[in-house]
């Protein structure tokens, strides 16, 4: 065990944990904004109740997304100073843009929304939640642009051992980023959809209130549409991975040798002939490179070393991502069919929605592991190895102390968050709104 291993563990732990809250924030923010818009348009009381109910769940979750996100930004400098010095010129730009163009908007307008219920004109107040929701989606774009550059570096040259940006536009329109954004944001909407379905399913089992049917129906549409977006962009991502990160693709498929007309492995031993070649290139007979052949080629090009990521983790996270994601989307398509023409959602399906709550979260976690562990041993593909990225001056003890602190703190907060969410779900929406007092101390959602 050295500081590098612990720094990697720390990055893994803090990132995966952060990414449990972020997708829900991204998707749920838009969902709440949609509910409030529906209330604004129709004036129907139950939309307001749903807005406030899901708004509260959104805020409980939002807090965790924010506080765990701050850690991410500092971590590059703390644990990965060599990486930061090498890439800052390129990688830092999207991070700075995220703060300037997305975070300010998100946090400021969310503050206005939370406390502005009685103080802002209705339209302005509605615009605030949309601005906050757009802000969180924008920040996903900037982060993914930065992340995509690590996998497929573009728009730069290496001068004096440091990457120098030559084309910001190329960085912001990186093909990998453009494929990842709909994939990850779509997945975020599936996570939020699955969450709303679980909550609505729970309430549909308790009451037959039409309000919950409406919420479930909206979430079904959202999840199904997002599912189509994720599948389409996933297909595009696979083709880009074939070109840009063949080692990741080969590892995800367990393909050892270069193969023409490569089969797609569903689980070890069960294969669909030629499908992998088709999925990666659009041609059933194309050649897909294998891990062992790639390893040989990389050693010739980059010198001795192991250029293969952890095969088992990459292989299985790919399968978990696809199967759990598809199950969630499949359930929602089924739900759409069964509730067509104002039919009621059958109780067994409502129960399944509750049980399926963890599936999309596990799917996005697996997708993240596939994406990032599949990039190893590089932090910047072809340019900088992970082993060369770590902070040279930071001791094993320091990383161990911070890893322990963050793990314990995150663990404790996860329990509190789960309890808080469960309690507020069980309590349900407020029965009816108290008359709006001009100077009520307690704003509608906080304190």
């Amino acid at each position: 065990m050295d500081a590098l291993d612990l720094a990697r563990w720390q990055f893994g732990v803090t990132t995966v944990y952060h990414f449990l809250f972020v997708p829900l924030t991204i998707g749920l923010g838009v969902f709440v904004a949609g509910l409030q818009t529906a209330w604004h348009r129709t004036g129907k009381e139950h939309y307001l109740r749903l807005t406030k109910f899901f708004g509260k769940l959104f805020l409980i979750n939002f807090a965790m997304g924010v506080v765990t996100g701050i850690v991410q930004e500092f971590q590059f400098g703390m644990n990965w100073s060599e990486y930061s010095t090498f890439v800052g010129d390129v990688f830092g730009a999207p991070l700075a843009l995220e703060a300037l163009l997305a975070f300010f908007m998100e946090s400021t307008f969310l503050g206005l929304w939370i406390f502005g219920w009685d103080r802002l004109p209705k339209r302005v107040h509605l615009a605030c939640i949309w601005a906050a929701a757009i802000g969180s989606n924008l920040s996903a774009y900037f982060i993914l642009a930065a992340n995509a550059w690590m996998k497929h570096p573009v728009g730069y040259e290496v001068v004096d051992g440091r990457a120098r940006m030559t084309d910001l536009w190329a960085v912001l329109t990186n093909s990998t980023a453009l494929a990842q954004v709909p994939h990850v944001v779509g997945a975020a909407f599936i996570v939020a959809g699955g969450f709303v379905l679980a909550v609505s399913g729970y309430w549909l089992l308790r009451t037959r209130a039409p309000m919950w049917r409406g919420a479930a129906r909206a979430a079904l549409v959202m999840t199904a549409v997002a599912g189509a977006v994720v599948a389409g962009s996933g297909d595009l991502s696979a083709k880009l991975t074939h070109e840009q990160q063949p080692m990741k693709l080969a590892s995800a498929e367990g393909l050892e040798r270069d193969t023409a007309g490569a089969p797609f492995t569903i689980v070890p031993g069960v294969e669909v002939p030629k499908l992998l070649s088709f999925l990666s290139t659009g041609d059933f007979d194309a050649t897909v490179q294998g891990t062992e052949d790639l390893q040989r080629r990389y050693e010739e090009r980059f010198g001795p070393g192991d250029y293969r990521p952890d095969q088992a983790v990459v292989f299985w996270s790919y399968r978990v991502m696809i199967s759990f994601g598809l199950t969630t989307v499949g359930l929602s398509v089924l739900g759409l069919w069964l509730t067509r023409r104002r039919r009621d959602l059958p109780p067994w399906l409502a129960r399944l929605f509750v049980l399926a709550l963890p599936l999309p979260l596990l799917a996005v976690t697996a997708g993240w592991l596939l994406s990032e562990i599949g990039r190893q041993p590089w932090t910047v593909t072809g340019e900088l190895l992970t082993a060369a990225s770590v902070s040279p001056g930071v001791s094993l003890t320091e990383v161990a102390v911070s890893l322990t602190i963050f793990t314990l703190l995150y663990g404790a907060l996860a329990v509190v968050e789960a309890v808080l969410l469960a309690r507020h779900v069980r309590r349900g929406p407020e029965e009816s709104e108290p008359a709006p007092a001009a100077e009520r101390l307690e704003p509608s959602l906080m304190y």
Partner: protein
């Protein structure tokens, strides 16, 4: 271009200290100026709509350092590893405390999180920056205690300005007490900053010496003015004075960092290429006015004093 970006980063950090400075102070003081849960809510509501936006100043300052001076960013945060971990822990427990307070049955843990989470960064940022500039452990401790006291004072004035009733009265008393503690500390800390020997490589005399002495001494004057203004019940002006004191202290610190950002590193060596800096400048020039306008608007929307429910 490098100079411009140094000024932008100094501006972002200064904005952060001025803004989050008062919400750290309010977070720290809230349990002490409030006698019951309603008053505690009243106190915290003064920062409720704005604290998260204030914290983005930090995220932007750090992000801008990463983009414009990668080697500086990497050097600072790996050198001050454990203090930064503790700052992050503080910001985490404070953030969830503030957001979750209204949603739990027994908010005592949230209140504790808010107090601890406000105290840690208020102390540690001062310690880290004092250490960067002056290079000794003693200076770090003095700097930390000073910024902690300064945040309490700044927050107390803000509370007195933004509340009414008993909380306002107690906040004013707290501001006077904090002023009495902060002033002598300021004499030590700011004199150290104005005339201290400085970190390795810092010239003892010369243009830097003068350039940092002036704002540091002026900060002392602003603090004295703030205490006098609180005494005369001019809370708005007193708040402007404490904000000015924080800004001047920060300016003085960055004047030194301009010459020695980190031992053995110059700004030019730490900087990104001219292309990146130009691009960031254009985007910053377009975006920053919008940010300032809508953040300013937030303060305008919530400009009324927070009252107790009748």
């Amino acid at each position: 271009m490098i100079d411009l970006w140094f000024v932008i980063i100094a501006f972002l950090w200064t904005g952060y200290f001025m803004l989050e400075g008062f919400d750290f102070g309010v977070g720290l003081l809230a349990p002490f100026v409030s006698r019951d849960d309603t008053e505690q809510r009243q106190s915290l509501q003064t920062i409720g709509p704005v604290w998260d936006g204030n914290e983005v100043w930090l995220i932007t300052a750090v992000g801008a350092m990463f983009a414009a001076f990668p080697a500086w960013y990497a050097g600072v945060f790996s050198a001050f590893y454990l203090p930064v971990v503790l700052v992050l822990v503080g910001l985490i427990v404070r953030g969830v405390g503030l957001e979750w307070r209204g949603k739990v049955t027994d908010p005592v843990w949230c209140d504790l999180g808010i107090v601890v989470g406000s105290a840690l960064p208020a102390f540690l940022w001062g310690a880290v920056f004092a250490n960067m500039v002056l290079g000794t452990a003693l200076a770090a401790v003095v700097g930390g205690v000073f910024t902690l006291a300064l945040c309490v004072l700044h927050g107390a004035v803000f509370l007195a300005l933004r509340t009414d009733g008993p909380v306002r009265r107690r906040a004013r008393a707290a501001a006077l007490a904090a002023g009495a503690v902060t002033l002598p500390l300021a004499v030590v800390a700011l004199a150290n900053l104005a005339f201290g020997a400085g970190a390795a490589g810092l010239p003892e005399t010369g243009p830097v010496f003068d350039a940092r002495s002036v704002p540091a001494l002026a900060a002392m004057g602003a603090l004295a003015a703030a205490v006098a203004l609180i005494w005369r019940r001019r809370e708005g002006w007193a708040f402007a004075a404490t904000a000015t004191a924080i800004a001047l202290t920060s300016v003085s610190v960055f004047t030194v960092l301009r010459v020695v950002p980190l031992p053995g590193l110059t700004l030019a060596e730490a900087a990104s290429g001219p292309y990146t800096l130009t691009m960031l400048t254009w985007i910053g020039l377009i975006a920053l006015p919008f940010v300032l306008v809508y953040q300013g608007w937030t303060y305008w929307v919530f400009r009324k004093r927070v009252s107790l429910a009748h």
